[in-house]
């Protein structure tokens, strides 16, 4: 392809989250301000310091037949469900080639998770120790490999232009979508299914994150535990699930008459080079990602009406993000309706960027910013217009929205979308 700066649009959305088994029910719950966080009822959770999490609303076993599901890690099951929904939502009726409107050689899949098939890895190690060598599943390797969800989505839709898995902890899902935008923009593909997934509600990851002092231990009030920007916030709440979008060159979408949710303007990426897990407290690393976004794309700061913040409900991170927005956008921040949807979904780690991209795109499409719940006492250092209590209408005309995602390791990824 000679063209290297093609316009990219979003033509399909899909999700399976703690709030609902698809994008529509998730969106409805976000607008209603419902929390997906619950007390964990499993026996293994009884004695843990953290006993809360946001479990998926619809178990994947009720959607994927057992012979297929048993060969997939839970994270791949989530990814497949979200990708199938996005694929159908984009108007495709079969896999590429069988549906003549999409060429498999021009179709990609980019799906990421932060941790990969961690429950498979740990469960199969238990099998090895308790039942012996012969009982370890021959499906273990394709189930635990971090590229498993991407590979399974690629198989499902018939993607031959490239299947990828960028890994950057909690920024993974967003980095996947950014990578997919670039594949189309630079001409490597016409259509890409992209998103993030995570399934790590298992005693080991919960204990490990808990021992880092990164998680809320507010077991007495599960639904109030994830409280971004509130003075009483004390860590994130783990969630599970996946979100996916179908990205497409604007020309390809127009040729097949596809419904377009939004334009995917592009991405800004940076790294903190500060600490392996602590966010850079002044927000300089995040600001660099925002500046890169502005420099590399046609995003107009005056058009940004909404930000789906990373805001995980940790004391340092939430404030650093707002400082970065102010640093780069100055007074333009005053007209940005900032939402922290993790207050409802919990933190889906590598799945967050996928689910929050779906939320950001739907916010533009419906011109409604979802609320941030549990914000009883706004942190005086939270310098921005946080959407509280109920959804806020977004203005008419051309507006843009950002989806921020940051990950352990100092990864900063910002995605930008615009109404069409």
């Amino acid at each position: 392809m000679s063209s290297t700066n093609r316009t990219v649009v979003v033509t399909g959305v899909g999700a399976t989250t703690p709030l609902g088994g698809d994008a529509a029910s998730t969106w409805e719950a976000l607008l209603a301000g419902r929390s997906g966080v619950r007390l964990l009822e499993e026996d293994w959770a009884a004695d843990l310091p953290v006993r809360i999490a946001a479990r998926i609303a619809v178990e994947p076993g009720t959607v994927i037949p057992r012979p297929h599901a048993r060969k997939l890690d839970r994270s791949a099951q989530f990814a497949l469900i979200a990708a199938r929904e996005a694929w159908a939502d984009a108007g495709f009726t079969a896999k590429a080639g069988e549906d003549p409107t999409v060429d498999p050689d021009r179709l990609g899949a980019v799906v990421a998770s932060g941790i990969g098939g961690v429950t498979t890895l740990l469960d199969q190690y238990d099998v090895l120790r308790e039942k012996g060598v012969r009982k370890v599943s021959p499906h273990t390797v394709p189930m635990l490999m971090p590229n498993g969800p991407a590979a399974n989505v690629g198989l499902e839709v018939g993607a031959r232009a490239g299947v990828h898995t960028p890994v950057s902890a909690c920024a993974s899902g967003a980095e996947a979508i950014g990578y997919a935008i670039e594949m189309i923009r630079t001409g490597r593909a016409d259509v890409v299914v992209a998103g993030g997934t995570e399934a790590s509600i298992h005693p080991l990851p919960i204990v490990a994150f808990g021992n880092m002092m990164a998680m809320s231990k507010n077991n007495e009030d599960p639904q109030g535990a994830s409280r971004p920007f509130d003075t009483a916030r004390n860590g994130f709440v783990m969630g599970e699930g996946a979100g996916a979008v179908v990205l497409e060159s604007a020309d390809h979408a127009a040729r097949r008459g596809a419904r377009v949710y939004a334009e995917a303007i592009g991405q800004g990426i940076s790294a903190d080079a500060h600490h392996i897990t602590q966010p850079e407290p002044s927000g300089n690393g995040i600001a660099q990602a925002l500046q890169n976004l502005v420099d590399a794309t046609e995003l107009k700061p005056a058009e940004i009406a909404h930000v789906n913040a990373h805001a995980t409900s940790t004391p340092q991170g939430d404030v650093a993000e707002l400082k970065a927005l102010r640093k780069v956008f100055g007074h333009d921040v005053d007209h940005m309706a900032i939402s922290a949807t993790k207050s409802m979904t919990g933190h889906l780690l590598g799945g967050a960027g996928g689910v929050e991209t779906v939320a950001t795109v739907l916010a533009l499409h419906h011109r409604l910013a979802p609320p941030t719940i549990n914000l009883d006492s706004l942190d005086p250092e939270a310098d921005g217009d946080i959407v509280r209590d109920k959804p806020r209408p977004l203005p008419a005309g051309t507006i843009a929205a950002l989806n921020d995602s940051f990950g352990f390791g100092g990864h900063n990824v910002v995605l930008a979308f615009r109404t069409v």
Partner: protein, 82 residues
Amino acid sequence: MAATQEEIVEGLAEIVNEIAGIPTEDVLLEKSFTDDLDVDSLSMVEVVVAAEERFDVKIPDDDVKNLKTVGDAADYILKHQA
């Protein structure tokens, strides 16, 4: 008490149903695991392990590649069961 060929096929049918979701009545002697029953090379390992347990027989890895059909497996088990 050694299993009869009929019992072995019945047992294999239940194993294939569990692993690949194929209805038990479709698991017949002449059916190929890969071509007819949706049992790929990884799932075949599961079938073999389940059959070893059920029929008290050892099926070394080198012999697995010769078990193309349900009939091949049933004959092997009939011959080698303890």
